[in-house]
């Protein structure tokens, strides 16, 4: 490689490296602001501000969803399996909302420690499976949160069975 080109190559790579360091440091400094939500542990530790709009995220705890039959009011606990956060919400929940499902709730944290939600968003995970597989899992006695872990495994078993049958 000619010296001039080598110099240009180093200059270009150096430019990229410098920019990467600058961006990396900025993101590192802003890391807590980039997180979309506080987890119940962080809220229990007092990291989240009161009476300002915040977002909290976690799983809807099994058996804690209490709907008011007269209105759209609903109460549930959001958990990260260490701490729990009580959430009260009035409105329409997304289709994917259910016990054991990941959610992000937007609202204000009250001094008593519960959260008044203005908006409830459902998170979903990277696992997908056909309804028949989900039903088979349920019949085999797995609870919803086992679905995800088992999904890949069952998928693999089904693939193997299909391959075995076709051979």
């Amino acid at each position: 490689m000619r010296p001039k080109r080598r110099q240009k190559l180093y200059l270009s790579l150096g430019l990229i490296a410098l920019a990467a360091i600058a961006v990396g440091l900025t993101l590192y400094a802003l890391r807590s602001n980039i997180n979309l939500f506080f987890s119940p542990v962080q809220i229990a530790a007092g990291d989240a501000p009161f009476e300002r709009q915040i977002r909290a995220g976690g799983m809807v705890k099994e058996g804690t969803v209490a709907r008011d039959p007269e209105s759209l009011d609903v109460e549930f606990m959001v958990t990260d399996y260490v701490d729990d956060l009580e959430v009260r919400y009035s409105g329409i929940l997304p289709d994917l909302f259910r016990e054991g499902q990941g959610v992000v709730v937007v609202g204000e944290l009250q001094p008593e420690g519960w959260l008044r939600a203005d908006q409830v968003l459902a998170r979903h995970d990277e696992n997908y499976m056909p309804p028949e597989v989900a039903q088979a899992l349920e019949e085999a006695g797995y609870s919803p949160e086992d679905y995800q872990a088992k999904a890949a495994e069952v998928g693999a078993r089904m693939d193997a069975k299909q391959q075995g049958a076709s051979q």
Partner: protein, 249 residues
């Protein structure tokens, strides 16, 4: 190894690139059409529904390939920019210029299909989460590269400015990729990874893989085609182009 190097060297010659791309292009077009047709029919009609999301899950067959391509095209553009800056290979710059609008469209498709998908699953079409925001920044980077190239009266200055922006902007790509691992986001982690089995059964991921391959073939075919016409445009006063035009006209 020597053979590969001489192939890469020859690619730098506009005339040689024009010749070889004419032979390669039909293969990529054919592959793209077959894969995209097969993948969409399989994915949109025959693949099973998701147990939670039902049919809206099928957006994955457009969303994921578009997002893959949006990022891959930016990386290709940055590599082409580096080759142009260091080795002064003009074909690399032409290819980079031709890739940018396609990359911007793919980024838009990924963002738009994600928003449409977000309404039924998340309950919102937009959230300032790290994955969505970094993808929006990618769209702005594409638009910036396109605008910067056109903002100079001399083509060479425009090319150099666009190359530098593409090279620096490539830092955004690992941020997009790892945003879902580094921070809490609304967006779920990656469905596909090189190291582990996809988190879905084969009848769901096989059409997705076909769609991804189809999108890549489409990208290569379009880039070859557009670079060929850009070569003719920029080299229009070269003898070989005149001879070519004379032969046909």
């Amino acid at each position: 190894m020597g053979k590969i190097w001489s192939f890469i060297h020859k690619l730098g010659s506009p005339k040689w690139f024009y010749g070889i791309s004419a032979r390669l292009m039909p293969w990529f077009w054919t592959a793209a059409v077959i894969l995209l047709l097969a993948g969409s029919v399989w994915g949109l009609v025959f693949a099973p529904q998701d147990y939670q999301q039902g049919n809206s899950f099928r957006i994955i067959y457009v969303h994921v390939p578009a997002a893959f391509l949006a990022q891959s095209i930016f990386v290709s553009m940055a590599v082409a920019g580096l080759i142009f800056m260091v080795w002064k290979i003009k074909v690399a710059d032409m290819a980079a210029a031709m890739m940018a609008p396609l990359g911007a469209s793919m980024t838009f498709i990924a963002l738009f299909s994600g928003a449409v998908w977000g309404v039924p699953t998340w309950g919102t079409w937009w959230m300032w989460d790290a994955r969505l925001t970094s993808m929006l920044i990618l769209l702005f980077l594409y638009l910036g590269v396109i605008a910067l190239r056109g903002a100079f009266s001399s083509r060479d200055s425009g090319s150099r400015a666009a190359s530098v922006l593409a090279m620096v902007g490539v830092i955004n790509i690992p941020i997009i990729k790892y945003s879902v691992d580094w921070w809490y986001t609304l967006h779920q982690p990656a469905t596909f990874s090189v190291t582990s089995r996809p988190a879905m059964p084969v009848e769901m991921w096989a059409p997705l893989l076909i769609m991804v391959l189809g999108f890549y073939c489409f990208f290569i075919a379009v880039t070859l085609m557009r670079t060929r016409s850009e070569i003719l445009r920029r080299e229009s006063n070269k003898r070989w182009v005149r001879e070519l035009a004379g032969d046909q006209g």
